[in-house]
Amino acid sequence: MISYKPVDTPISTSKVIILPDPLFSDATCFRQIMRALKYLTFSRLDIYFIVNRVCQFMHPPTYSLWVAMKCILRYLKGTTTQDLHITRSSSFALLSFTDANWAGSIDDRKSMGDYLVFFGQKPISWKLGKQRTIARSSTEAEYKALANGTAEVIWLRYLSTDL
């Protein structure tokens, strides 16, 4: 990997993960790297989306996933100095962003929902996941994401009053 050229974004906007696909031979190596990347998402929100996406197709790993994973590593190579830096903030507002990608999962047409909670100016909680039921409209998918984001904000609110 040392000789690889860095890239600007961890994911290509044109290529999608297509199944079926030839299987990748060294599944153990693939899983070890993905495990490390998953751990890295604690402080790197920028790769959270693509790591989550690749992790959905872990069993069994295919060649196009291996290519997608190498793209993440190339992106990380160019951005090794980035991290999530928590600093003192004067604001104590809890601000949550929620979004949904209707029928975003290409296999089963389930929607992807996510939320991102800021405390003051820094993100403290985020989640991206496939919604359990199939939404029949984009509004429905957005509502589910909104409800999940709301639940998280309310929990964090109780937590902050307890502290």
Partner: protein, 67 residues
Amino acid sequence: MNLVFHARTKHVDVDYHFVRDRVAKKEIRIHFISSQDQLANVFTKPLPTASFIAFCFKLQVDPSHSA
């Protein structure tokens, strides 16, 4: 407010009432966010380089501050 849902939208009602209830209790406030300011956007789809970098900046994933 009409709290009754009709058959076609019944499946949204639990989430709807949960959120509506919290807004009514003034625990949360809901605002519309345009896609340019929607920080959660970076979690839903692959973005072109320029907007990806802009989002990373807003997410405070900055080049390391030398501590």
